[in-house]
Every structure is written in C-alpha cells, then in structure tokens.
C-alpha cells in the first residue's frame, strides 16, 4: 500500500515528490517517506500522529503532530487520495473528532452568549434598583443639572423657560409643593423633587435625574380634572423616586456593548446596532414607565384620589394609533390600553375618594399659564356708507 505526494519538511522552503509506504511491521506503525527519484528514505512519520488539514478540493494535506508545524504531505489525484485514506484510516477519525470539537465550541459559545443575553434582558430590570444605589445621589443631581441645561436650550431655542409663576408662594405653587411632599413623605428618598410649571405648546411633562420635574402648560390645559393632573405628576415623581434616569444611562451604555458583541461591531455605528440597541433599551424604558405608573397608582391610593385620571389624560393627548400598536416593540412607552388595565386594578373604587386638589387650588393651577388671549380680530372693513 503506497501513494505519491508532495513533501515539505517544515524546516526549509523546499518541496519534493515522494512515495509514502506504510510500514505495518514497525511499532508504532510508521509511514515511510521515500524520495520519488532516488528512493532514499527522507523521513518516517508515526502513522497515528498524522492528521488532515483543510485543503482545496481534490487535495489532501496531511500534517504530523510529532513534526514541525509546517511539515506536509500534499496528495492529489483520486486514486492517490483513496490510497492515502486507506493507508491512514485514522485521518478520517481525526477529522470527525475535529468537526465535533468545532461544533462543541460553537454550541458552548452560543449557549454562553444566549445566557448572557437572557440574564441581561431579565436581570437588569431586577438589579437596576440596586445598581443605581452604587451611584451617589449628588452625581445624579449633577447629571440632572447638565441634562436640564441641554433640554432647556433645545426646547426653547436658547431663550430659556417661560416659568408660569416664579413666586413659590402662590396658591398653585404651594398646592403643587404640598402634593409633591405628600407623595414623597416617608419614602426615604435622597431626593426632594421640585416641580416647575412652564409655558409650552407641547402637552408633556418630564422628570430629570435628581428630581427636577417640569410640567408643560399645554398638558394642564388638556386636563379636565385635578386627578388627571395629579396622576401625571405622580407618574413623573415615580421616575424620580426609582431613579429611572440613572438606570437608563447605565442600561444604554451596557446595551451598546452587548449588541456590539453580538453583531461583531463594537463601534456601534451600524444600523443593525442602533436598531438592536433601541429594541432592548425601549423594553427597559417600557418597564420603567410601568413602574412609574405603579408609583402613581399607589400614591393615589395613599392620598385617596382616583388613579385612572392619569390614563384618561393620556387617552386624550397621546392616543395610540394602529401604527404605534403594530410597532409596539419600538415604543418607549407601554400601550395606553395596557396602562389603563394596570392602573384600574389599583383603583380601590373608594366611595370616599376625593380629588387630589381642592377646587380653589385646581382653579389656581389651571390659571397659572392661561393661554394668551387670541389675537385681536382684524377690523371689519365695512363698505363706506354713502349718504344718500
């Protein structure tokens, strides 16, 4: 049993034609390599240590574990290749073993990555409350101050907020402060939120890390009852209490790393990276929103007003259309219907429930930022009467 091959010893860059003959009599079994021209023995390879390397089609490349890493027998031609595989039956075994080894590495690596992803998706929301406690509240206040300046500049085009009532001692401001303090009473939060009502056409309210909370006047105008106003305010205070701004910062940083790892592009510049990261971040954001709703609902229970106001107001100013329902996974807020269900479950339907603000307070709050009077109507030009 023999076959011909090209031989390289892995020590010098020369290549020669050889004849390989199996020597079954020796122990261990050896593969004798003879020069094709002179039939001198060039080398003897331990047959069991031979292994196959990846090669192009119609070629076998054989290495040997007891020879230099570059030592090779290259076998071409079907008859020759069959002969080589027949003489060295271990070759196929080694190849199969390598195949399974690779499959095992891929399998293990995939399982490991999958468990990291699952642990991340489900673990971060559970851990987030504890993770934020590693960051001192002063940091968070500082971040809030930076974000405050940026948002103010971008919302007002650099002109600065038009604060509705700057005096903290007006009836409306005092009512809002009373509500805020009641909502945070006994919670041991390191933050004392401050609520500022600002004139704006955008119906919105937002809370920044550290407790600065803004309520835009359009949203007050859209509120029909004091409980609607109180519900949204309590929801924003929930963000402050749970430090969601800080949680968001932590999770977006780590999400980028994770998505970058999966896609193999840690620069995070690809579209896939951005989409993937936003899918995950929005999932966390929806969980935060649900948590803030829960805070609002519990605050309503404690203070004895109706928690459904929050979602009644949302229904009017931010109704989900078919499109946003279809792309719910891309939304950073839960769907309004789901929020309603969760909040109505917290409604005690207590017949003694009374509004969060007295009529007098509520009227003062509504009047904080009256919409500017409509521009005067142009003078009606009446055709000059001609005196007969």
């Amino acid at each position: 049993m023999e076959f011909t091959a090209r031989y390289q010893d892995g020590k010098t860059a020369s290549s020669r034609d050889v004849i390989c003959i199996i020597d079954l009599a020796s122990d261990p079994v050896m593969l004798a390599i003879l020069d094709a021209g002179t039939r001198e023995i060039v080398d003897r390879w331990p047959a069991d240590e031979c292994h196959l390397l990846h090669s192009r089609m119609m070629e076998l490349r054989i290495g040997n574990r007891q020879r230099p890493a570059g030592a090779r027998l290259a076998v071409t031609g079907i008859e020759n290749m069959k002969a080589a595989l027949g003489v060295l039956p271990k070759l196929n075994q080694h190849q199969r073993a390598d195949y399974w080894k690779q499959a095992r590495i891929i399998g293990l690596a995939t399982a490991a990555l999958l468990s990291v992803i699952v642990a991340y998706l489900y673990g971060i929301p559970l851990l987030a409350d504890r993770l934020v406690t590693f960051f001192p509240p002063e940091w968070e206040s500082k971040i809030g101050a930076t974000a405050d300046a940026q948002i103010e500049a971008s919302l007002t085009g650099g002109k600065g907020y038009a604060v509705c009532e700057t005096n903290p001692n007006t009836v409306a401001n005092k009512a809002i402060t009373r509500f805020t303090e009641l909502a945070f009473a006994g919670l041991n939060s390191p933050f004392a939120p401050t609520v500022t009502v600002v004139r704006s056409d955008v119906p919105n309210a937002f809370a920044l890390p550290g407790g600065r909370t803004y309520y835009l006047s359009s949203l007050i105008q859209a509120s029909r009852t004091p409980d609607e106003f109180a519900g949204v305010l309590a929801h924003e205070l929930g963000h402050v209490y749970y430090r969601h701004g800080m949680q968001g910062l932590i999770s977006t940083s780590t999400t980028g790393l994770l998505v970058g790892f999966v896609l193999g592009d840690l620069t995070g510049l690809s579209v896939a990276g951005a989409v993937g990261a936003s899918l995950i971040d929005n999932r966390f954001s929806r969980q935060s929103e649900a948590q803030a709703d829960d805070f609002a609902g519990k605050t309503a229970q404690r203070l004895g007003f109706s928690p459904s106001g929050l979602v009644d107001l949302l229904d009017r100013v931010a109704k989900d259309d078919a499109f946003s329902k279809a792309l719910a996974l891309f939304q950073n807020h839960p769907l309004t219907d789901d929020r309603r269900a969760a909040l109505e479950a917290l409604d005690t339907k207590d017949p003694g429930a009374r509004p969060a603000f007295t009529t007098e307070e509520w009227n003062a709050i509504r009047d904080m930022c009256k919409p500017p009077p409509p521009p005067p109507l142009p003078d009606v030009v009446t055709p000059a009467e001609t005196t007969p």
């Binding site: 890493a69 590495i105 995939t110 990555l113 989409v275 899918l279």
Partner: protein
C-alpha cells in the same frame, strides 16, 4: 533537483477556486449565523480565508491558512478589553458639562482612529503568521504602536493638506509594512517610494477635482437647477454631468488601485526573488460595473418579491371573502412581535444579499485579479529559507474585527 539554469525562471501565480464554491461558503454561513446569534462569523471568516489561501497557487504550491476560528473568537474577547474603557469613558462623559462632553468625544474619536491603525497592523500580522507556503510561514515583525503612530500623524497632516501629502503617507506606511514582513528567516524589501504613488494618485486626484469643479461651475454659472425645498436639483444636462462625475470617480478609483498595486508590489522582493504584478485598470472597472448592475438587479428582484408577497396577501384576503383594503392589510400586521421579526428578517435579507454581492464580485474579483497578475522571478532562490519559531499572538485580529477594519 537543483538545476542551476533556474536563474531566469519565473514562477507563476494561479487561482484555482470558483465563485460557486464561495457562494456555498457564504450561504452556509448565513444559515448558521442566526442559530448561533452571530458567533458563526468567526468560522465563516476562517472558511473564507481557507478558500482564498488554498486556491492561490504560487509556483505550483498552494499557500495554506493555518488560523482557526477559536483564535478569532478568543481575539475578539481580548478586543473587548480595549473597548471596556472606551464605553466607561462614554458613560462618565455623558454626566459632564456640554463643552467637556464634546472635548471628550473628540478625544475618544482620536483614540479609536489610533487603535484602527494598531488593529490593521496586528491583523496583518495575524494573517501573515498563519500563512504557510512550502511549509514555511510568513511573519510581520515591527511595532504595531509605532505603525499606528505613523498612520495617526500622517493622516492628520493629510487632512490638513487636503490629501495632497498622501503619496508620502502611503509610501511611508507601505515601506513600514513590507520592511517588517518576513518569509521564514528571510526579510522582504520594498524599493517603491512616494514617486511610485504620486503619478497615479495625482492623476486621479486632479481628474476628480476637474470633473467636480466643471460640473459645479457649470450648474452654478448657468443657473441650471430648480430648488426643491432647500435642495437644489440640477437640470438634465447637470444631471448627466453628475453621472459623469460618478463614472470619473469609479474609473479613477480603478485606475489608482490597479496602478499603485502594480507599481508598488513590483518593487517588492525577498532576497533574490522578485515580485512582479501587472493589473489592468479595465478589469477592475469592469468589476465595478458588474457590481452596480448586480445591485440594481437585486433591488428590482427584492421589490418584485415584496410586490408578489403583498399581492398574495391581497389575493388571499379577497378569496377569504374579506374586502381587500388597506385596513385588512394593516390588521394582518397588528402584532408587534410579528412586525419586528418581519422587519429584522427583511433587514437581514437585504444586508445579506448586498454583502454577498460585494464578496462575490468585489472581494473575490480583487483577489483573483491580484493573484493572476502576479509572478515571481527566481523562485528557486527561496529554497534555502529556514523556518522560525511559531507566533501565537491573537489580539490584533480580534481588535480589527471589533473595529470593522479586517480585510479578507
């Protein structure tokens, strides 16, 4: 078998692989990429390299790629070590004052640009040290940091001079790379300098400047454009001039790449063996043209597929007795999860199809062009090259993968 008449002998370089084999590798890769959450890309890259390397036959002996996918995987883990501080810096920066944040971003961009040079060099080291020919491996010595510094400062100078200094930058980097490249115990040399690059570079540069200047000047001076919103849209002659600019760009790119590769690589030698490379500009320009045609054909195909799929849904809705209107279509897609999965699948199909075309036409084409255009004078002088110890460094390739600068 040492014939002394070999002095004048020239060794040919051939490429024996076919596109359909590459297509098979790519399709198998895509199929396995999804169940492995993207991890198969390391195996995919390894298979592609094996294919390119083993089918490149230099003077009768194929080169061999000995790297493994696990090395790439490990290398990528090492690369994470470079990125963690950057991510932490981003995190800390996001809490600072606005001016400071901008400064910080600029610093991070500089660090990443520097790291790219480092990664490119180490990736070349990784590939060379895992390339065998006649049982002897190549290697890249030198200092990757030194290379990255050179590249970094040269590129700043290049930006400041509007690219006019590039021939000096290019030749400095080419020379650093090749003068630290080894085959076994024999060092590579390169004789090319800035003059070798300058001719093709400046021709291409000024050709584009003239084309752009003429087009811009003509459209501006004749007022041959209409404003659509804030965007000026040129008239028919202006449009054809713009298309001309794109053609000039593609042609000059093909010209520059083939000329510089031919001229620079033809000055490369290892001991008494000399490399010679002849590449035709027309061949590369032809590949660009084929690529554009293929991309257009692919877009039409994808659009047709989408139209047929939508038509099928419409027909099914009609057959089911429902009025086939937009409302009914929207209701089919009303589940968030289904939609996102559909979107992701569509994205992957499009991305995968374009990646496949780029690999099959551009990468494959360039490699084959280079291989078939190359020959080695006096290859027998290499028979006395001796092997050196193994190189097991992994890190650079992983970093290059992470930074998206790896080639082949």
């Amino acid at each position: 078998m040492t014939d002394t008449t070999a002095e004048a002998r020239t060794g040919r370089v051939e490429f024996t692989g076919g596109r359909q084999e590459m297509l098979g590798i790519i399709l198998r890769g895509y199929a396995l990429m999804i169940p492995t959450i993207g991890l198969y890309r390391f195996w995919q890259a390894t298979w592609k390299r094996r294919f390119y390397w083993q089918n490149t036959v230099i003077d009768g002996e194929p080169i061999e790629y000995t790297g493994t996918a696990s090395q790439l995987l490990l290398g990528f883990f090492f690369a994470l070590a470079f990125f963690l501080p950057i991510y932490i810096a981003f995190f800390v920066l996001s809490m600072q004052d606005v001016d400071f944040v901008l400064l910080g971003y600029a610093a991070i961009a500089a660090v990443v640009w520097f790291l790219m040079g480092y990664a490119v060099y180490r990736a070349r080291d990784f590939r060379l040290s895992r390339t065998l020919w006649r049982g002897i491996r190549f290697d890249l010595k030198g200092n990757a940091f030194a290379y990255a510094l050179r590249r970094f400062f040269w590129s700043i100078a290049n930006v400041l001079t509007l690219g006019l200094i590039y021939p000096w930058m290019g030749s400095s980097l080419w020379r650093y790379r090749w003068r630290h490249t080894w085959y076994g115990d024999r060092k590579f040399e390169i004789a090319g300098n800035w003059k070798t690059i300058a001719g093709p570079y400046y021709s291409a540069y000024f050709l584009n400047v003239i084309a752009l200047g003429a087009t811009g000047g003509w459209i501006g001076s004749t007022g041959d454009f209409t404003m659509v919103g804030n965007v000026p849209v040129p008239g028919p002659i202006g449009i054809s001039m713009c298309i001309g600019c794109v053609l000039v760009l593609a042609f000059s790119l093909a010209f520059y790449r083939t000329r510089v590769a031919s001229r620079m690589l033809s000055t490369v030698s290892v001991g008494d063996a000399k490399l010679s490379v002849k590449l035709g500009t027309g061949a590369l320009f032809g590949q660009f043209a084929v690529y554009v045609v293929a991309v257009v054909a692919l877009l039409i195909l994808l659009a047709l597929t989408a139209a047929i799929a939508l038509g099928g849904v419409y027909a099914a809705a009609a057959a089911g007795g429902q009025t086939p209107d937009a409302e009914a279509l929207v209701s089919l897609f009303s589940s968030g999860t289904t939609n996102v999965i559909l979107l992701i699948v569509a994205y992957l199909v499009i991305l995968g199809a374009f990646g496949m075309l780029a690999e099959l036409i551009l990468s494959f084409g360039w490699w084959v062009l280079l291989a078939r255009g190359a020959s080695i004078a006096n290859p027998d002088s290499l028979r006395t090259v001796q092997a050196t110890a193994e190189d097991k460094a992994l890190i650079g390739q992983g970093l290059a993968d992470a930074l998206n600068v790896g080639a082949y």
